[in-house]
Subunit: 188 residues, 2 copies
């Protein structure tokens, strides 16, 4: 009989498997996530890994889900200060190997796998929606004259930080982040 | 005896292997590039594939090298027009599946593989060097008052286009590209 999801043995082996998959992803990359290697790393029978995650892409998704993706908190005022704070937090997250691994693995695997592409799209849309909301409220309050359509704002504000982290392997310092915020519009 | 590099049979099998590796990369992703699958796809003995490329990361690199990476042409004047033209060309390249595959595979694999990381670094440095050169010449000619250190310019100009293509899966239109160029400084 298959274990129930509340079975403590199930939960222990589940945690061991996800931990092993995460370790393989961080140390060797997504190509290292196979049932055989995850089972070996977790010290668990291969059949148990298959029972919980029949496909390797499910194992990869479970490993990726252990790393929180960068997001915007609820908008605060003044919007300019809030935005600098939020982008600095995203830049700090993108200084970490595990966040670079998960974001670049998502961008890469989304090109072939439907589930990953849905995740990518949800991630991009949430970032845009939160930023559009904050910028439109700031405009309504007279805090800013926007230089472009707010729907471009996520790419203009996060794009440079993402490129710096994942292509240049550098850090977005305070001056760099302030520049991206100034680029969105004229703040009063 | 191993074939000489000028042997036509060597060149034919080499082309077939690289073509097969490229096809697997574009259709299924970097994880599909194994000696067995490349040999099957190319209709060539597995031992021949091993003889030319002993490691899978070399097969992947050969497949990636078939796709030209986005670059800047030699600087032209007026610099603002040149830059808009060059960024529009990069954006058009990033609309293509094969260029998205190669850039996101590079960003991902560079996190674990030294050769890929050297490629990533060379790519990032060439883009920055070409842009720094063009912007410094533009400044010397009085074409622009730069808003930031020119070493940030690549991330500020290409980052939004790269994010739009690889995270948002959208197109950078002319207005979007003009905005990134205006963001670099005050053009006269």
């Amino acid at each position: 009989m298959a274990p129930s999801p509340e079975d403590p043995r199930f939960l222990r082996s589940r945690d061991a498997i996800v931990g092993a998959a995460r370790e393989l992803l961080m140390t060797h990359g997504p190509g290292a996530i196979t049932h055989a290697r995850v089972a070996e790393q977790a010290g668990i029978a291969r059949a148990t890994v298959y029972r919980h995650w029949p496909r390797t892409d499910q194992l990869l998704a479970a490993a990726m889900a252990t790393v929180p993706m960068p997001f915007f908190d609820a908008p605060g005022t003044p919007t300019r200060d809030w935005l600098i704070r939020e982008l600095a937090a995203i830049a700090r997250q993108l200084d970490h190997h595990d966040v670079r691994v998960v974001t670049t693995t998502l961008a890469n695997t989304a090109l072939w796998e439907q589930d990953m592409d849905a995740r990518r799209e949800g991630f991009a849309e949430l970032l845009t929606a939160r930023l559009v909301e904050a910028l439109e409220e700031a405009r309504a309050r007279g805090e800013v004259d926007l230089r472009t359509d707010p729907r471009h704002a996520a790419a203009l504000a996060i794009g440079p930080i993402y490129y710096r982290a994942t292509i240049e392997h550098g850090t977005a310092d305070d001056a760099f982040i302030t520049t991206t915020v100034e680029n969105l519009g004229r703040w009063r």
